[in-house]
Amino acid sequence: MSSEKKQAELIKEISGVNPLKCMKCGKCSASCPSYNEMDIKPHQFVSYVINEDIESLVNSKSLWKCLSCFACVERCPRDVKPGKLIDAARQVVVRQKDQDYLSPNEIPELLDPELPQQLLVSAFRRYRR
């Protein structure tokens, strides 16, 4: 198996999503609150997985712009769940070892009382597994 294919299979495995179920209705993109911040739009996630171009997905702005609000997951009529796909892509990144990431212990001192609660909750959704 090529490494691209492996990556795509990994995404499917982590997310539990079958991208072939997508009927390209665009309801995910219509639901997305971060749509305008994203370079790759939610409805396009599936085609990156189908085309085994996980590299682009991982390097996209969208990866970190997704709020994990799961509106797309909730509303997708085909059970495709683009939010889960992008979350899986994040997992792929997070799972790469020896990378310089924030450790949970450092978080408390970085907390700003002015931070909106929503941001925290979505951050936990994004980074906690």
């Binding site: 179920k21 009927m23 390209k24 209705c25 665009g26 309801k27 995910c28 993109s29 219509a30 639901s31 997305c32 749509y35 305008n36 739009k41 409805h43 509106a71 797309c72 509303r75 997708c76 009529p77 085909r78 059970d79």
Partner: protein, 662 residues
């Protein structure tokens, strides 16, 4: 001992590609009783059938096994061929080596091995086959149509025109169905009522048609040609013979708060009502839930104002029992419940409506008298958004997995009509695909875009957000421009998925007609028998079988009628000879079989028997072959094995088991 011929079909390459047909034919010769075997390209062809006939004559065959496609496909073909050659048709058995073998296995060795075993099982069975004679049953020359919409009306008219009696049973107070609720019809834009009401009148005036409105089918027994049906005529509280349809009662009725079913609950009606002006029969019913007289005992105003003295508060439900030869199901559809689609704000805003509600809004007899206005404040909308596929093409449990088929076209119709009548109103349609297969359909859709300037956007809507000022903020995507759209609208119209009428499940159970996971009635064959149910004598008309538009419904209604007429035109039907039979020497007379028979086909009689020299009178089970449908429930209930099923006897099935496990 039987003299059996085995005929192995190649079915072109359908079988021959994964089954070594020559080998199967060769192996057959080793089976007990087999005196002849051959293989051929297409056994079902005339030449193939001729080979069977020739072998029957030349080799004196007493039994035939055809290794071919499913018996559901060609069992009748081969049995008829054998009959023509002078063999009892029930001496023919099919080994299904296509659907159950060649089509599911890829390895030729594996496929051949299995085909040989299936052949052996069939040979083992035929060894125990006995010639059977089909009996006859009579045909009641009257048809029942369940549902009085356009499908039911058309079917009834066609059957009646052929000279047979037809009864229509309609649940609501008037025939007309969904079509009577529509304003205009695509793709010609003619007025729905203008083309429907003449048919309604024709049906009600037809001497061969009897219409039971406000009635429901309660019980069905019997079988093809001889159904016995109980129809509950709900108490109308109005004497149909006396009522003149003057309408004074409805005007005077003080209780006017009941939601109008006909107008989809968008406005109200009186407690005594006819659903709409052109209702047939033009006789009102009293909604006892809403009527003050029924609720409190006081009032009685309608009775006072009725010159004809037609009001009858004491009227009771009536059960009518009638015999029918054929039954046509035409129960139609409803739109799905939108509770699970909260993102479209249907429950939050009066200005988010379904397309069927829009039909009523656009209709002159509707709640707004045909003026396009917002139901919340009565203001004229300037911006209307249509959302397609609401609940259609969904793989989750919120909606339906199928395409509702009619929405693309009626939305184009709505958009066009609005743009035509109100040129200053902007119309936007959010769609996934625009599906327009049909004569003049795509042209119609293109006209909406090109001539009327309807704005079609490929992309779904994610959310409709009601604004404090009463506007509706629609958040959608434009997949082709790759942008998200925020649009302020005054009205949002949802192309809501359609589903079979919820009552159809109950009716299907009564009729023992099969139904699919979406509650559409199953047809006997998806391509070749699309208007027949697998249950003999039951025919399908309209959307109860699958989504379809008016012309398709009318076409299917006619087709169902033809099938029903074909049945009613016969004086006698040949009955399935594969019925249960009791061996009186073994029967204990214990009544166990009688208790499980769904057809009441088993009775007990005191019969004189001669049990190996002992003559005595015994209570024994007797099967009425005209009533028995051959399910076999009794054969297993019988502890002594006295009850057996012809064509599927205990010994035959055990022989098959043995052959498979050999």
């Amino acid at each position: 001992m039987q003299r059996i011929g085995v005929f192995v079909c190649h079915c072109g390459s359908n079988i021959a590609a994964t089954v070594d047909v020559k080998k199967v034919a060769e192996m057959a010769l080793m089976e007990p009783g087999v005196v002849h075997s051959e293989d051929y390209q297409y056994m079902c062809s005339e030449a193939g059938q001729a080979k069977i006939a020739a072998a029957i004559h030349e080799k004196g065959l007493t039994g035939v096994v055809v290794c071919s496609c499913s018996p559901r496909m060609h069992e009748t073909t081969f049995r008829k061929a054998a009959e023509r050659a002078g063999l009892n048709p029930y001496m023919v058995e099919i080994a299904n080596i296509r659907e159950h073998c060649s089509w599911i296995h890829k390895d030729i060795e594996e496929g051949t091995k299995k085909a040989v075993i299936l052949m052996r099982a069939a040979v083992a069975k035929v060894n125990l086959n006995a010639p059977l004679q089909a009996g006859e049953s009579r045909v009641t020359k009257r048809a029942l149509v369940i549902g009085g919409g356009i499908a039911g009306i058309q079917t009834a008219l066609d059957i009646a025109d052929a000279g047979y009696e037809v009864d229509i049973v309609e649940k609501t107070p008037s025939i007309g169905g969904r079509m009577s609720q529509l304003d205009k019809t695509f793709p010609t834009l003619d007025c729905s009522a203008c083309i429907l009401t003449p048919k309604m009148v024709e049906a009600s005036a037809h001497e061969k048609i009897k219409i039971y409105t406000y009635s429901e089918v309660e019980k069905v027994s019997g079988f093809v040609g001889d159904f016995m049906v109980d129809i509950r005529k709900k108490a109308r509280s109005v004497d149909m013979d006396k009522c003149t349809g003057c309408g004074v009662c409805q005007e005077k009725c003080p209780s006017k708060k009941a939601p109008s079913e006909f107008n989809r609950g968008l406005n109200t009606r009186s407690a005594i009502y006819t659903p709409f002006a052109q209702a047939i029969p033009n006789v009102p019913v009293i909604d006892r839930e809403a009527c003050i007289k029924f609720k409190t005992g006081k009032c009685g105003l309608c009775s006072k104002v009725c010159q004809a003295g037609a009001i009858d508060y004491d009227q009771q439900d009536e059960i009518i029992t009638e015999k029918y030869g054929a039954i046509v199901v035409a129960t139609g559809f409803d739109t799905i419940n939108l509770d699970k689609y909260d993102e479209y704000a249907y429950s939050q805003s009066k200005d988010v409506i379904t397309s069927l509600e829009l039909e009523r809004v656009m209709n002159a007899a509707g709640p707004t008298h045909g003026h396009l206005e917002r139901l919340s404040d009565g203001k004229a909308p300037k911006e209307i958004v249509f959302i397609q596929c609401v609940g259609s093409r969904c793989s989750d449990d919120r909606g339906k997995p199928y395409c509702s088929k009619i929405c693309c076209m009626y939305t184009a119709k709505h958009a066009m009509l609005i743009r035509d009548k109100y040129p200053d109103v902007n119309v936007t349609v959010f769609y996934i695909d625009v599906r327009t297969p049909g004569k003049n359909f795509d042209e119609f859709y293109r006209r909406a875009v090109e001539q009327y300037g309807v704005n079609y956007i490929k992309g779904q809507v994610g959310k409709v957000i009601p604004q404090p000022d009463g506007k509706l903020l629609v958040q959608g995507s434009d997949l082709l421009d790759n942008r998200q759209i925020l649009k302020e609208a005054d009205m949002v119209v949802l192309a809501t998925a359609i589903e079979p009428n919820p009552d159809v499940r109950k009716i299907a159970t009564m009729l023992t007609a099969s139904i699919d996971t979406n509650n559409f009635l199953t047809e006997a064959h998806a391509k070749l028998r699309p208007v027949e149910s697998p249950t003999a004598g039951i025919f399908l008309s309209g959307v109860c079988q699958g989504p379809k538009d008016i012309p398709e419904t009318v076409a299917q209604a006619g087709a169902a009628a033809v099938k029903a007429i074909g049945l009613l035109a016969k004086d006698k039907l040949l009955t399935n000879p594969c019925t249960a039979q009791s061996d009186i020497l073994l029967c204990n007379g214990c009544s166990t079989c009688e208790n499980v028979c769904p057809y009441g086909a088993i009775t007990y009689e005191d019969k004189e028997v001669n049990d190996h020299g002992i003559r005595e009178t015994r209570r024994v089970a007797v099967v009425n072959n005209a009533l028995c449908q051959g399910c076999g429930a009794c054969t297993v209930a019988c502890p002594s094995g006295a009850m057996d099923l012809q064509g599927f006897s205990n010994r035959q099935i055990i022989a098959e088991v043995d052959a498979i496990c050999r």
